[in-house]
């Protein structure tokens, strides 16, 4: 059984935010502006988290850290959902059932990474964009919670293709939009359960760390520290 995960190499990341944009386009996230951001109404399944890097200069260097949903192995959001609208599947992906969610926002408050988003209003796209939505990803109605799905629809497409050709899924066939878009290869997506995969090697690098590791949430998004 695969265990999907991601590594993000902060040494390679230039904070260009191509991953943020790719995610927006791939997952039908409605465009938002600075006003929405100030009110906490923006949708960024992949978000840039500001933090202070280790700096030799007089002041610590401000850095950005790309943060998708971390797809915790012990997800605090799944535990608290009263209706089972969020779940962890056998391959470790934490998913959201938009048609079952009642919008109580308990998962959004329970997530220590604030990686979950709520549809405050019916999402709207300006005219040319509205006709260019990704048909593989459902558009969410108002009042439900959404989040990064590790581009789960891409896994389904890759599986369908493999099944049509009567062969197993090949490594690298399933990847996320953010990993594909990253110009420096900082984001690597793959199967953590396969010891020969690139991501497994990176995940066991001595630079590897997890966000808020001491909370015991066991994220499957693993960061690689700068400096090597």
């Amino acid at each position: 059984m695969a265990k999907w995960g991601m590594t993000i190499d902060l040494d390679r990341c230039t904070a260009c935010q191509a991953c943020v944009t790719a995610c927006q386009a791939e997952n039908n996230l409605p465009p938002t502006g600075p006003d929405d951001a100030r009110r906490g109404r923006n949708y960024t399944w992949m978000e840039m988290i500001p933090f202070e890097g280790e700096g030799e200069r007089p002041k610590p260097i401000q850095r950005l850290l790309p943060r998708p949903c971390l797809h915790c192995d012990n997800p605090p959001c799944v535990k608290v959902c009263p209706v089972g609208a969020t779940f962890k599947n056998e391959e470790g992906i934490v998913g959201q059932v938009f048609s079952r969610c009642i919008g109580c926002r308990y998962c959004t408050t329970a997530c220590p990474y604030t990686a979950r988003y709520f549809n405050w209003t019916t999402p709207r796209w300006p005219e040319p964009m509205a006709t260019h939505l990704n048909p593989d990803v459902s558009v969410r109605p108002k009042g439900v919670v959404e989040k990064c799905s590790f581009c789960h629809h891409r896994l389904q497409n890759a599986r369908d293709a493999a099944r049509a050709e009567n062969r197993p899924l090949r490594p690298g066939e399933y990847s996320t939009a953010c990993a594909d878009a990253c110009p420096t290869g900082a984001i690597v997506f793959g199967d953590l359960a396969n010891p020969k995969s690139d991501i497994s090697k990176l995940a066991h690098s001595r630079r590897a760390f997890k966000l808020l590791e001491d909370l015991g949430t066991e994220p499957k998004v693993i960061y690689l520290r700068e400096g090597d």
């Binding site: 100030r38 109404r41 978000e47 009263p82 009642i102 109580c104 709520f118």
Partner: protein, 463 residues
């Protein structure tokens, strides 16, 4: 039905006729009050319809402050609900005779206010049309499901517990009034006041009073668990269960004092709700003041001493940061003002206890607000934009609408049923004085023989 000829019911009613006044007579003041309340409710309904149409975007909520006024209301209203059933049950069990005129008004608060506690959770839902998913797909591992179960049981039991002692009074109404006879005849369940009926009723009330206490405690415990079970800073605390229960009883007593003062003033029931009732409840409020302070101090000292960065971020937000006005107003209104008023026998009057109670209720609303909002305002991961939560007119209107609707239901209850238990007052007059004298005698050793009995164990301990 022989009720029309029951002689026992006619005589005491001359004494307690004033208790039936609100039901028999309705003046212009009543219609004015109802009109004002309906206007406020209409505003709340309009606000909710706006929210229903547009989505929760019309509130001030956002990421990361996902919960705000509605969840605060939920905790506050469920807290107020502890006024009734719990206090009434405890007073009944310990046989506090002064309870007789106040238990009814307390129990009504519980039943009415729970509706608004539950209502605010439904208002807070992004998809209220899917609320039955909680039953269809309910997962017991979610603390919200614990709330659903616990509050449903509590509402059912509180309603039964309100209804049981109401039966003899409904029978009085059935026999004495011409109004709504079908309603009173149905609800009186054929009560004729026979000794056997009284015995059964007392047993049932006794059983309900006992089992309703653990249920009431469980309700506010699981309300706190909604927060405490998450790992968010200053929510994930083992003290939250008892802290919320204490806070609930605290604000509950305060709400009861306010309601009693209003009833006393509007219906002229000074003979029934006397200084002594306000004095006793005031003392109870004072005790809860100290209990509340103890829990608050424990909570904040533990956080401060532990000095964990994520927790301290929230701590300073409350102590000196953007929530400092809320926090220090809370400390003043929940502790400084009520203690100053209630410690002094000269200020522990009706006016004094009412001022203290209003102060406590303002403080307890703020307490719930600064439990819910600050922990969400500063999440563990830093944010590019810091989001400040400002409730909008929709949230304030719905809050006002909830208060008005609660008041309206309470007022309507007083127009349908006696707000002071007539038969319990009668019983107190007829039976309790003798009973209490007997009970008192049983506490005190007999002058001659009791003296020797009392000395024997003392000798035993010495040797």
């Amino acid at each position: 039905m022989k009720h029309d000829t029951t002689p026992a019911l006619t005589s005491p009613l001359i004494e307690d006729a004033i208790l039936l006044e609100p039901i028999l007579r309705t003046g212009p003041k009543f219609y004015f009050t109802v009109a004002v309340l309906l206007a406020i409710i209409a505003l709340g309904v309009f606000a909710y319809l706006t929210q229903f149409r547009e989505g929760l975007g019309v509130t001030g909520l956002g990421r990361p402050v996902y919960w705000g006024i509605y969840i605060t209301n939920f905790v506050f209203f469920i807290g107020i609900s502890h006024a009734g059933t719990l206090i009434s049950a405890i007073l009944r069990i310990v046989g506090a005779e002064w309870r007789r005129t106040i238990t009814r008004s307390a129990e009504v608060i519980t039943v009415m206010v729970i509706l608004f506690g539950v209502g605010n959770i439904l208002i807070d839902l992004g998809r209220p049309d899917r609320m039955l998913n909680v039953i269809k797909f309910g997962r017991l591992q979610s603390p919200l499901l614990w709330d659903v179960c616990s509050i449903t049981v509590y509402l059912t039991m509180s309603t039964v517990y309100l209804y049981l002692p109401l039966i003899p009074d409904i029978a009085i109404l059935r026999d004495r009034t011409q109004k709504r006879r079908w309603l009173y005849r149905t609800l009186a369940l054929g009560w004729t006041g026979t000794p056997r009926q009284h015995r059964v009723l007392e047993i049932l009330i006794g059983i309900m009073a006992i089992i309703v206490i653990p249920v009431a405690v469980s309700v506010h415990t699981v309300v706190s668990f909604v927060f405490a079970m998450t790992i968010q800073p200053m929510w994930h605390s083992a003290i939250f269960g008892p802290y919320f229960v204490v806070g609930a009883i605290f604000s509950g007593i305060a709400a009861l004092i306010c309601a009693m003062a209003l009833i006393r003033w509007v219906y002229g029931l000074g003979e029934y709700l006397k200084n002594i009732h306000f004095n006793n409840l005031g003392l109870l409020l004072l005790v809860m003041c100290f209990a509340w302070f103890y829990f608050t101090a424990s909570e904040f000292l533990t956080t401060f001493y532990g000095n964990e960065p994520a927790h301290m971020g929230i701590f300073w937000m409350k102590f000196t940061g953007p929530f400092a006005p809320h926090f220090w107003t809370m400390v003043t209104t929940c502790f400084v003002i009520p203690v100053a008023i209630l410690c002094n026998k000269r200020t522990r009057t009706i006016a004094g206890t009412v001022i203290a109670s209003i102060s406590v209720n303002i403080g307890m609303y703020l307490e719930r607000f600064i439990i819910v909002v600050p922990s969400l305002s500063q999440p563990r991961l830093p944010h590019a934009e810091s989001v400040v939560y400002h409730p909008t007119w929709v949230e304030w209107s719905i809050l006002a609408g909830c208060f008005a609707a609660f008041t309206l239901l309470y007022v309507l209850f007083t127009k349908l049923f006696p707000i002071v238990s007539i038969w319990e007052v009668q019983e107190g007059r007829e039976r309790s004085i003798a009973e209490v004298t007997e009970r008192l005698k049983s506490y005190i050793p007999e002058p001659s023989s009791g003296h020797q009995v009392a000395r024997q164990p003392a000798v035993g301990v010495g040797t």
